[in-house]
C-alpha cells in the first residue's frame, strides 16, 4: 500500500506545497538580501541610508495613494450606476 492509503493523509501533496513555498521564500530572501546590499552600496557611496529609505517609502506611498483614489473613484462610479 502507498503511504496515503496507509495513513489517509495525502503527504505527497502537502510535501509538494511545502516545497513550493520554501522555494519561493528562499527567492524572497535572496531579494531581501539584494536590497540590503544596494543600501550598503549606497551607504559606501556616501548616502544617508535612513533618508534614502524614507524617500523610497514616500514614493511608494504616493503610488499607493493614487491607486486608492482610483479605487474610490471606482466606488463612486459603481454607486452612481447602481442608482440608475
Amino acid at each position: 500500500m502507498s503511504e496515503e492509503e496507509t495513513t489517509g493523509i495525502p503527504g505527497g501533496e502537502i510535501r509538494s506545497f511545502v516545497e513550493r513555498i520554501q522555494r519561493l521564500e528562499e527567492e524572497k530572501k535572496t531579494i531581501s538580501d539584494d536590497i540590503k546590499d544596494v543600501y550598503g552600496e549606497a551607504k559606501s557611496r556616501g548616502f544617508d541610508v535612513k533618508i534614502l529609505k524614507k524617500l523610497i517609502s514616500i514614493l511608494k506611498q504616493d503610488k499607493n495613494e493614487r491607486d486608492e483614489q482610483e479605487t474610490l473613484l471606482d466606488l463612486y462610479l459603481n454607486a452612481y450606476q447602481g442608482e440608475q
Copy 2:
C-alpha cells in the same frame, strides 16, 4: 510578612500595571464601538459605508504623507547641518 516579602514577586506592582492597561483597553473598546455606531448612523442616513471608510482612509493617508514629508525634510535639514 507582606506578600512580596513572602514570594519575592512584586505582585502589587504587576497588578497595578495590569489594571492600568485593562482600564485603557476598555476605554479604547468604548471608542471603537462609538466609531461603529457612527458608521451605522451614517448608513441609516443613506450613505454607503464602504465609500465613507475609503474616503476617511484616503484623508488619513494624505495626512500621513504630509507628516512623512516633514520627517524627510527634517532629515535633510539635519543631514545638511551635520555637514557644516
Copy 3:
C-alpha cells in the same frame, strides 16, 4: 441656495460624519499611545513586556469565558422561567 440644493450632494452631512469619525479615531490613537507608554514604563521597571502582554490577554480570555458563561446562564434562567 444652499450647497446641498445647488449640488444635490449632502456635503455638510458627510463632512459631519467624517469629522466625528476622525475625532474618535484620534482619541483612539491617543489611548493606544497611552497603552504603549504604560508598557514602556513597566519595561523600565524591569518587567518583561512580552510576558505582561500574554498575562493580560489570558486574563481577557478568562473574562470573555466568564461573560459567555453568564450569557449561557441567562439563557438557561430565561428558559427555565419561561417554562414556569
Copy 4:
C-alpha cells in the same frame, strides 16, 4: 554643465539607487503574491492554511537550528585544527 555640476547634488546616482531598489521591491512583491497564491491553492485543495503556515515555520526553525549546529561544528573544527 551637467545637472550634478549645476546643483551640486548627485541626482543621477540617487535616482539610480532608488530605481534599483524599487525594481527589487517589485520583484519581492511578485514573489509574496506568488506565495499567497500557493496558499490559496492549498486551501482550495482542502488544507488548513493556518496549520500549513505553522508547519513551514517549524521546519524553518529546525533548519535554522541545524544551520546553527553546523556553524558551531565549524567553529569547533576550526578551533581544533588551529591547535594542531
